[in-house]
Symmetry: C2
DNA sequence: TGTGCCAATGTGACCGGTCACAATAAGGGA
DNA sequence: TCCCTTATTGTGACCGGTCACATTGGCACA
């Protein structure tokens, strides 16, 4: 039984591999040892050279189909997995893209992008690793970046669309291509057309007959907040209105509420365009407290179309951004840089106005 | 000028490194080439051996402080970064932890954990990489897992607390330690004490005098949903009440609304404990539509304490979970497995009831 | 003064794919 | 029939740290 066993090759799991232990009386002693199979093992099993095995799982064109089949069989039988480290070492490529997040990443936008980015990256054969900056200052970013650099990422997606972060990034000077997600239109980034989104929202309120419209701003340090504000002003000014712009919120419902409280105590405003849905929620909150009916006394429009927006009271009119699309373009752009392929012209992703009962 | 230049060493950036090009007339020709410095370069610059350099940035104890200083200086000057691939290759360690997310990751809980996990991992010297299963079935998970395996992760954090995912994971059989985040208490995972949370919420409603309480369930495929339901039933049954449990929602505000519509048409129910905040939002929505006052006619309690919860109308009483703490414990546990250190006893993280105006 | 031990450092081989180049076979045209 | 091109496969060296082991110099103790 034992003899039969030892003669038979294990059919699954790792094959045993001879390891030289030393030379005794002119005879090489070997001891079998559990060890993940490498190209050499597979090559031996398939009766080809290591290089041929390598070619097979690298899809090299000139491999005879028959040979390929034989190698594939051997790989499957031995459950061969190419060793990433070895590959990285010689090719000097990690096929890894890093994502740098900074603060506030529980915000809807930043968050929704990550999965989209991961899938897009995997589709084109890259891995995704992330580093979160504890603080959005120079120090925090440097720590996160250095973690990414230590991982030898080939490109970085910066999800931290704040001026502060951008400055810090510029100061750090990483010699790795990077793309800013949710960035400003004027920089090398990928983004939804925020300006257009803001215009859509504003036009919508104007078309509903509102003339006293206020804008609840996001933090001006954020590119998106600035652009949304800009789009709002462009539209209202085009109508010859002197629109009102609030002080800056911090994206949170709390800040939206605080701002709305100030905005609504004098009864001029009939409509509010909030720079995001959370702050719009705060606005709704205050409106309820003040006994204002929405949309009769006050129309509210948000931005982002977070999943809950449809269930606010009343359901929120807002601007939807296609984050999956964004993730894809982002990776496409980054990979183009990495592989020094020609960059496609940047076309911002078009936002969509979703009209609901709040306006 | 040129002579002076060539004599001086560049003080920043990569030093030039001699590359053997061939032998001509007995003389070795070399050509300078931009190339990231390796241990050998640093060793030469510091006048020590490669191994000593290696020891320095590996914090090996027996290095004379003076020697260490010299090496550190050389490393800094040359801007030396140890090559991760080479290191992985010999040590057979990637120092990388993978995160597997499945579907629905825009849910608050799963999302909030990732940054916490990343920071916790970085603190103990691990990198974090993520893979998102496009679909929560066997196929999707296998693809995501195989991506992680290909990256040679040393451990996996599964953020996908569904039975289906767990089954699929079991079927796939990865020979890598893993920890389930947001999992059930009875398995090897790290989680907030959901049972306790549900009890807190239920007890709270009971203490407010409610006797006709309904529970809006999450999808029973989710461990958390099951446990919250269990906690709710345990508490109500302890009071001798026959409590009502809804059909399953899917965590979304939409499903919460649909369920609430069914629950509230006959006027028995005076309080609803929703398995998460989003569904509670849906409940609030329906309550408003039906003209029910909250909390006078209907008390509502949620679970999660998403940032918006405080700004629902009315502000939502809910159960808060400490995700940062969760992330830390999760990594601690995983790393203990990886480094085969003794596992600390699992103590679930305690949830906190946050009472607001909805109850 | 010898011996033993440890601290501090150096040397050669090696991890497991892949590069550059060599080698061989197979076809195609003159 | 012979040379040349192309398709297919093999060989040796190498990527850049790290392992195991060797080596050196001190110092304590007998």
């Amino acid at each position: 039984m034992c003899a039969a066993r030892s003669a038979a090759e294990p059919t699954s799991g790792y094959s045993s591999r001879a390891v030289h232990c030393g030379v005794l009386y002119g005879e090489v002693m070997t001891v079998p040892q559990r060890h993940p199979p490498g190209v050499r093992e597979v090559a031996a099993a398939a009766g080809v050279s290591r290089q041929t095995v390598s070619r097979v799982f690298n899809n090299h064109p000139s491999i005879r189909p028959e040979t390929r089949a034989r190698v594939v069989t051997a790989m499957t039988e031995l459950n061969f997995r190419p060793n990433r480290a070895a590959r990285m070492l010689t090719t000097a490529r990690s096929r890894t893209i890093g994502v740098l997040t900074a603060s506030s990443s529980s915000l809807f936008g930043p968050v929704s992008s990550i999965d989209a980015v991961e899938n897009a990256a995997r589709d084109v054969g890259y891995f995704l690793t992330i580093a979160h900056a504890v603080s959005p200052d120079r120090e925090g970013l440097e720590a996160a970046l250095s973690s990414l650099v230590a991982q030898a990422v080939e490109g970085i997606v910066v999800i931290a669309p704040q001026q502060r972060v951008r400055n810090a990034m510029a100061a750090v000077s990483v010699d790795v291509p990077s793309v800013t997600l949710h960035g400003a239109a004027d920089e090398d980034g990928v983004c939804v057309d925020q300006l257009e989104g803001a215009r859509l929202a504003t036009k919508h309120l104007l078309s509903r007959g509102h003339r006293r419209i206020a804008h609840v701003c996001g933090p001006s340090d954020w590119f998106e907040a600035r652009v949304r504000r800009e789009g709002f002003l462009a539209e209202t000014e085009a109508m010859g209105l002197r629109a009102r712009v609030s002080e800056e919120g911090d994206w949170s419902a709390a800040s939206g509420a605080a701002i709305a409280a100030g905005l609504l105590d004098n009864r001029g405003v009939t409509a509010i365009f909030s720079a995001n849905d959370q702050m719009a929620l705060g606005v709704l909150h205050v409106a309820h407290e003040l006994g204002l009916r929405v949309p009769e006394d006050l129309a509210v429009v948000g931005f982002d179309d977070i999943p809950e927006a449809a269930f606010f009271w009343p359901p929120l009119t807002t601007v939807r951004q296609d984050f999956a699309e964004l993730g894809q373009r982002c990776i496409a752009r980054l990979v183009a840089q990495i592989e020094s392929a020609p960059l496609l012209p940047r076309a911002p992703v078009a936002p969509v106005l979703v009209v609901r009962a709040s306006s």
